[in-house]
């Protein structure tokens, strides 16, 4: 890592860590850099910045680096780190919190992972449940990853595993839950491709 002038971040560091804690990143300030999380992480081999390094970024208030790190989208949420942390830091929770903040601040990294989560939630909002068939189709359109797994999809279709979507009776109640989402739920109606609007129903119906 290059030299870093920490005085630039004075004042911001505490507030960023507090934002992360408020979004569920429990006790991030307690991390003492032992590296146990990175040692046990099943995905660390695919991470340029290791989990303990991301914890340090949060502690130092290096919000840009933390939010732009592909590590936060590589985390599969297996909670091995959280389970083992000797300081009680919820490392996986910090990763989720950083994803939440990155999406809210429109930090465009790991576009495929972001597209997946947006499509996923837009379907819950539309039907109250996930229809995996529509999830895959919409994800493919949003990520332009059109041709992957067509063979698997065909087999699943033949096995009767891919069904047309059906909404639940209480879908309005489910939609009401989205009103608490930051930005009043506007985010789920994101345009992922020009001309492709994910949710067609009126927001907040």
């Amino acid at each position: 890592m290059n030299h870093l002038n920490l005085s630039r971040y004075e004042g911001e560091w505490l507030s960023f860590a507090q934002t992360v804690e408020a979004e569920g990143g429990k006790k991030v300030l307690s991390c003492y850099q032992c590296g146990k999380c990175s040692a046990g992480c099943p995905l660390s081999f695919a991470m340029e910045q290791q989990p303990h390094q991301v914890m340090r970024m949060v502690q130092l208030g290096l919000s840009d680096r933390a939010l732009q790190s592909p590590t936060i989208w590589r985390c599969a949420g297996c909670f091995t780190c959280t389970t083992r942390c000797p300081r009680g830091v919820d490392i996986a929770g910090v990763m989720s919190a950083l994803r939440v903040i990155a999406l809210a601040r429109n930090v465009r990294t790991s576009r495929r992972a972001q597209a997946f989560h947006k499509v996923f939630l837009s379907l819950i909002k539309r039907y109250g449940r996930i229809n995996e068939f529509e999830l895959v189709v919409r994800y493919k359109l949003a990520s332009m990853n059109l041709f992957q797994d067509l063979d698997l999809g065909l087999r699943m279709f033949m096995q009767g595993k891919l069904k047309p979507p059906r909404g639940i009776a209480g879908v309005r109640q489910v939609r009401a839950l989205f009103r608490h989402e930051k930005g009043g739920g506007k985010r789920s109606g994101l345009r992922l491709l020009p001309g492709l609007q994910l949710t067609r129903h009126r927001e907040g119906v």
């Binding site: 599969a76 389970t83 994803r99 999406l103 495929r112 989560h117 096995q159 639940i168 839950l177 989402e181």
Partner: protein
């Protein structure tokens, strides 16, 4: 008594064999259950990556529905289990969040019953009692029990078994007469929902888990999570391919139920040929 049964979205789609075999086992053992009426998605795999409140409020709707039935909520899906337990925990420990969520839902939540996994229910029924119902011993079948993540972690609220060295699934599986192999990747991560957005990564995780099971003499893997099953079944690329069963499929088979009724014909890696070779199907 009995349980409110929460299948979750996967069990109505790609994991329909888990739904079929779960219901078949519960029926066979005489465990009472009713599907939670008008249940909604628990938010796994995405809500907790997009909004902290939504991660609690989506499962909370189902918790309050079950409480209105005055029944404990039970789900076969490990991901739903995790979200439901997490929300139950949050509603009971964070009054501010609870108030916010429950106001929108217009209901109360006392949290009398903890949400359970179907494995909890089977384990409470008792491995010995399950064993007494076995009519077809799955002798000489060497099984690798794969717990994955969400039944065990985080241990704050996922309390199925010891997070580092679990053993309950082995005890259940061994009641069928199968032998559970000792192997190290039982609680590794399969990559979960990265399967679509980061497929290569999941291929490497799934392949290393299956290869480890092969190296320890397993002929098949058994799991209790639709995401683990799908990832291991679809994404393994090793030289030896192993079928990946749901724990309820193997139990159902040992109860003498028809393989077709258990959904065994709808796997990616052929799940029947190993059983035929052992004269178990």
């Amino acid at each position: 008594m009995g349980y409110a049964y929460y299948p979750g979205c996967s069990l109505h789609g790609t994991a329909k064999e888990y739904d079929m075999s779960s219901r078949a086992c519960l029926d066979f053992l005489g465990i009472q259950y009713r599907e939670l009426p008008d249940w909604s998605c628990c938010g796994a795999s995405s809500a907790h990556s997009v909004d902290h409140t939504l991660a609690v409020s989506l499962p909370a709707r189902n918790l309050t529905l079950a409480e209105q039935m005055n029944l404990p909520l039970m789900t076969p899906c490990a991901a739903c289990y995790s979200r439901l337990r997490g929300a139950h925990h949050a509603l009971r420990s964070d009054p501010g969040l609870a108030k916010k969520v429950l106001t929108v839902l217009g209901s109360e939540y006392k949290g009398r019953y903890e949400p359970l996994s179907i494995l909890d229910v089977l384990y409470q029924y008792g491995p010995e009692a399950v064993g007494e119902k076995v009519t077809k011993k799955l002798k000489e079948l060497r099984v690798a029990c794969y717990y994955g993540c969400l039944l065990l972690r985080p241990p704050d609220y996922a309390k199925f078994d010891d997070p580092e060295n679990p053993g309950k699934m082995e005890r259940l599986v061994e009641t069928t007469g199968a032998s559970a192999v000792d192997w190290p990747h039982r609680t590794e991560c399969c990559g979960a929902s990265l399967s679509l957005s980061d497929t290569k990564l999941v291929v490497s995780l799934a392949t290393s888990i299956v290869d480890m099971a092969v190296r320890h003499g397993a002929e098949c893997i058994v799991t209790a999570c639709p995401m683990c099953q799908a990832n291991l079944d679809m994404r393994q690329r090793g030289r030896t391919k192993l079928p990946v069963y749901y724990v309820t499929e193997l139990l159902g088979l040992a109860f003498g139920l028809e393989p077709k009724r258990l959904g065994l014909t709808t796997h990616m890696v052929n799940a029947i040929s190993l059983l035929r070779a052992k004269q178990l199907a």
